[in-house]
């Protein structure tokens, strides 16, 4: 998994409560054989005026000019500001996959749905809970100034605004450790690579017929 230490990027305000996973990535895109490539269909129904189909080239589809991420000033957004209960609905891991593929590295909201919150950490995406009043303030600042960037510092557990104001957030120690070091389950297991190799060497001695047989 990709590490998350510190990130600075353009912030965009998605001013809508209860954004569910079907809104984040509609069900017709789940048939894909990939975990990557969902970016063009992120927020498909909000983003485009037509109905999206799998395997369609999104470049020529009519964009909804009112949707925030379609506006010129928010191109290149990597920090998403959202409202309460973001990511509710189904457990599809395709939701964080789509956000990640689009280029979003952190989502800031007053609250998240549980499963979505968990799924983010498995995919190198940082969900940040800030008090409602602070989220409100960020929404106002973002809308007021074009090119507004936020810095998210996981080590220090703060979100820093362009004026230098810092908002502290909470994060579980174990998850923080995994994100800082880019460790997913595989990464954690590979920390024990020496033990695996030692076991394998023993096994090769004891049961040599299990090696190099399948060709």
């Amino acid at each position: 998994m990709r590490k998350f230490t510190q990130h600075t990027g353009i912030a965009a305000p998605l001013d809508r409560a209860n954004v569910d996973t079907d809104m984040i990535i509609p069900k017709q895109f789940l048939k894909s054989i990939k975990r990557a490539g969902f970016g063009p269909n992120l927020f498909d129904e909000l983003r485009y005026l037509d109905e999206g189909q799998p395997d369609q080239d999104c470049a020529n589809r009519p964009l909804n000019p009112d949707f925030v991420l379609n506006q010129a000033r928010y191109q290149g957004t990597s920090v998403l500001l959202a409202r309460e209960n973001f990511g509710c609905g189904s457990s599809r891991e395709h939701a964080p996959w789509a956000l990640d593929d689009f280029g979003i590295r952190a989502v800031i909201a007053p609250s998240f749905a549980d499963i979505f919150y968990n799924n983010c950490f498995k995919n190198g995406l940082l969900p940040i809970v800030l008090p409602e009043a602070q989220v409100d303030q960020l929404f106002k600042e973002v809308e007021a100034s074009e090119g507004y960037e936020l810095t998210v510092d996981l080590e220090r557990q703060v979100v820093v605004t362009p004026s230098g104001e810092a908002f502290a957030f909470e994060v579980d120690n174990f998850r923080k450790h995994c994100l800082l070091n880019g460790l997913d389950d595989i990464g954690l297991t590979l920390q024990h690579a020496d033990e695996i190799k030692a076991y394998e060497a023993r096994r090769r001695q004891e049961a040599p017929w299990l090696f190099d047989a399948i060709k």
């Binding site: 297991t189 695996i196 399948i214």
Partner: protein, 472 residues
């Protein structure tokens, strides 16, 4: 040293590391890959810039999505675009990572759980995983085998290990002699009827006793295949001479020089005298009759000569309700005779019952008879290209075709309706597969699980029939 169960021995022999939180790192000797649950795992490897830890531990073959009709045109002629892409993706991933694959038109292609043992990929004392819950099948050989999810497929590819927690031990002992016409499928359906679909949850079930010892390797696979339908991710049978003999001369079996050492090691793969099981279930072989499921869960099963249950006779209101709902879905009346259930289709195949002995048993029943007029379709789908070739060498294909059954190419076929073989709404099917859930074989389809011989008897009579009557 304390006496150990077979499961304890297999667990201990694969323990790489015990973590403080109770989880453990278990070494995986063998992984089988198919087209449906592997694409995101390979994609994950690519995105993280990882390589498989050990290529020679993996074998792949497409099975769930492949058409079972004429397919000489190759992958490009698979009609359903989603299926075609999945099969092509498996091919491309295996080529890219150097993993051995039996592609769709390779004679060794087939259902993952048929192919693994047939090739000697699965061996006694190994750990075997696959992104498919019926991986329990391989436990028949004294291997620790279970299904895993896509993220775990990736984990095994990348690390050759799995993060796991130890299960509890259950022994299901079947003693005595099975009657004529009573097969391994009837044994396992009967067991599920006794312990229920959640009876094995959290357990590794070892099947033992004199009746199990007398069953062939193929029959033992049928039994372990359905351990998962009793809730147990792992089914096991201890190694004996039948097990060891099975592996002589298989492509991935130990070489001649390695054979004696391997066979000696395999002989240890039995539960020790006095080993402690958390639960023991005892079953008398003589009590087992040919079985038919009447409901929408494998535990909703009855002997062929019984009546469909009456919910009013059930004292537990939750169960009574379950029976009512199942009868409604299945379009059956309480107290009707099982033998009066009329069939629309018959399916002989799936990882439960598509091996050569299964096909022989079915052929014996249909030989010289004809598929009944009310049966619209009766499919025979061998589990692998090699099973198909063997059956053809024995002339079984001709027996089936003459009787009016269709002889198909290997794959999962009507077991799960992910390919063109499906039930229509409301149709009753006598099926040798393993799941009778609502919609499993097609939207609104009604599945009855039976043995190959019972499916064959249903095909030629048009309704469920005690196969023993046809054997006289």
């Amino acid at each position: 040293m304390a006496a150990k169960t077979l499961y304890d021995k297999l667990w201990d022999a694969h323990l790489v590391r015990q973590n403080e939180d109770g989880s453990a790192l278990i070494y995986i000797d063998r992984q089988i890959l198919h087209e449906v649950t592997s694409p995101q795992a390979f994609e994950g490897l690519r995105l993280a810039g990882r390589k498989p830890w050990r290529i020679d531990a993996n074998l792949a073959t497409p099975d769930h999505n492949v058409p079972t009709t004429e397919r000489a045109g190759g992958v490009d002629e698979i009609v359903d675009p989603v299926s075609r892409i999945q099969v092509k993706t498996l091919d491309a991933n295996c080529d890219e990572f150097g993993i051995t694959e039996f592609k769709m038109n390779d004679q060794r292609q087939g259902i993952v759980h048929v192919v693994g043992p047939e090739q000697g990929m699965t061996l006694p004392g190994t750990t075997v995983v696959c992104g498919d819950s019926h991986t329990s099948t391989h436990g028949a050989f004294g291997a620790l085998a279970h299904g895993i999810g896509t993220s775990e497929v990736e984990h095994v590819l990348a690390t050759q290990c799995l993060i796991a927690k130890k299960m509890k031990n259950m022994l299901v002992r079947v003693d005595g002699e099975l009657g004529a016409g009573v097969t391994a499928k009837d044994v396992v359906l009967h067991i599920i009827g006794v312990i229920g679909t959640a009876g094995g949850t959290g357990y590794a079930i070892e099947f033992g006793g004199s009746a199990i010892r007398s069953i062939s390797m193929e029959g033992r696979m049928t039994i372990c295949n359905m351990a998962i339908e009793a809730g147990a991710r792992v089914g096991l049978v201890a190694v004996d001479d039948t097990t060891i003999e099975y592996f002589r001369g298989r492509p991935f079996s130990p070489s001649a020089e390695q054979w004696d050492a391997a066979a000696a090691a395999w002989k240890e793969l039995v539960s020790d005298e006095g080993a402690q099981f958390d639960t023991v279930v005892e079953i008398k072989a003589e009590e087992i009759q040919p079985q038919v499921t009447w409901g929408t869960s494998p535990e909703m099963v009855a002997p062929i000569n019984a009546l469909v249950p009456n919910p009013d006779a059930e004292s537990d209101p939750v169960k009574a309700d379950g029976i009512r709902r199942a009868l409604q879905y299945m379009g059956l009346e309480a107290d009707q005779k099982i033998t009066d259930i009329q069939l629309d289709r018959v399916f002989i195949g799936s990882c439960t019952n598509s091996r050569i002995e299964d096909l022989r048993a079915a052929a014996e029943v249909v030989k010289g008879r004809k598929v009944a007029a009310n049966v619209k379709q009766a499919l025979v789908v061998p589990g692998s290209g090699l099973v198909k070739a063997q059956a053809e060498a024995e002339g079984l294909d001709k027996v089936f075709i003459e009787a009016g059954l269709e002889w198909r190419e290997p794959g999962c076929s009507m077991c799960l309706a992910m390919n063109p073989d499906k039930l229509g709404q409301g149709e009753h099917c006598a099926s040798t597969s393993n799941r009778n859930f609502e919609g499993r074989q097609g939207f609104g389809g009604r599945t009855h699980l039976v043995s190959p011989a019972m499916a064959a008897a249903a095909a030629v009579t048009g309704h469920f029939t005690d196969v023993r009557e046809l054997m006289q």
